[in-house]
């Protein structure tokens, strides 16, 4: 049986995923997306995929966010959706 914390984290993952797409500010979206990646990394660590979780923590929550912020810095923060 899956533990409640596992279900909770997965639900949070979905919420933060929707949040990243709903925020009307690209810098905010990048940061919420970083939170999404981090929660995903937690979910994977719980499922025993430590190598994958480690990579996601370094890449998804770290480098990807830096790339997104860099791109937003050179374009614009504003968005219509």
């Amino acid at each position: 049986m899956t533990t409640p914390i596992d279900l909770m984290i997965l639900t949070l993952v979905v919420i933060s995923g929707v949040g990243a797409l709903a925020v009307k500010d690209l810098l905010g979206a990048a940061i919420v997306f970083s939170a999404y990646s981090f929660l995903m990394c937690l979910a994977w660590a719980i499922m025993g995929a430590v190598d994958v979780a480690f990579t996601e923590a370094a890449v998804g929550a770290g480098v990807s966010t830096v790339f997104c912020v860099a791109a937003v810095f050179h374009t614009t923060r504003r968005t219509k959706d």
Partner: protein, 277 residues
């Protein structure tokens, strides 16, 4: 467009959810996925490669050919970002900002004026006049960066025994350099780790990987069969595989570090390499 997207998405999702019932239950140890191939890796992985972390063994040895292309993908992404974004700018074509460190005064020098020397201790170049002088951030990063780098080296070298390996270590090494670039500025980071060095060490990293494989081929074994390196390293076949994994992890780490930093340089300055985040 939105309606169309919604229909497509709901169709796909519906199809997949409809078939979820056919899948084995989550965590079922008797599903075909867990019984056909993976027991071999678990039971023989350590004996074959001397790497208790089976993920590393599979990644770098059994399916090492995939990983070679994984590294190549990263390298290709670096090349692609460079190719798409990089543009040359002539130096001195716009005013520069300098801060006089002892007084904190900001100077704006128009093009054609005399600029202070690049390594001057009194004047420091800034991206714009509102950049604060963050002594706390700079010094904290200066303290943290060496530890990140040492940890990254540990992650690379200890990939056989614990989670981690070339890719994760490479990303951490890159993170240290990116941290330096953010806390100080992009120019100083490029001064220490230049674009050319990044590009060349990206190629070198992939070359270490593919070259190790090709060396096995020259020694008469199949491509990437590290057993062939045994006589060269003076160890038996199992240890040769273990050392082979280490060699290619180092190659991956080098390539990934260089390329991630290279991509960061190009993205954070939109290809101009003058001022970063």
């Amino acid at each position: 467009m939105r309606l169309l997207a919604l229909i497509a998405v709901v169709l796909t999702g519906g199809l997949i959810i409809f078939h979820t019932g056919d899948l084995p239950d989550f965590g079922d140890p008797n599903s075909p996925a867990s019984t056909h191939l993976s027991p071999y890796y678990l039971e023989h992985g350590e004996g074959d490669t001397h790497a208790p972390n089976i993920v590393s063994a599979v990644l770098a040895d059994y399916r090492g050919f995939d990983t070679m292309f994984e590294t190549t993908v990263v390298f290709a992404a670096g090349l692609a970002c460079f190719f798409l974004l990089r543009r040359k700018t002539e130096p001195g074509d716009k005013p520069r900002m300098y801060r006089h460190l002892p007084t904190g005064v900001t100077l704006r020098i128009k093009s054609g004026g005399t600029f202070p020397e690049e390594d001057s201790t009194e004047f420091r170049r800034m991206d714009s006049h509102f950049v604060p002088h963050q002594i706390i951030i700079k010094n904290t990063c200066r303290l943290v960066i060496p530890f990140i780098q040492v940890f990254a080296l540990y992650v690379v070298a200890h990939g056989h025994y614990s989670p981690g390996g070339g890719f994760q270590g490479g990303v951490l090494l890159a993170a240290a350099i990116i941290l330096y670039a953010i806390s100080h500025d992009l120019r100083r980071s490029i001064h220490r780790f230049s674009e050319k060095v990044a590009a060349l060490s990206g190629s070198l990293g992939v070359f270490i990987y593919a070259g190790a494989g090709a060396l096995c081929l020259l020694l008469g074994a199949n491509f990437l069969n590290y057993e062939a390196l045994g006589p060269l390293l003076g160890v038996d076949a199992v240890m040769a595989r273990s050392h082979g994994i280490l060699i290619i992890e180092i190659g991956v780490a080098l390539a990934v570090m260089a390329v991630i930093v290279w991509i960061y340089y190009n993205l954070s300055s939109a290809g101009k390499h003058d001022e970063g985040l």
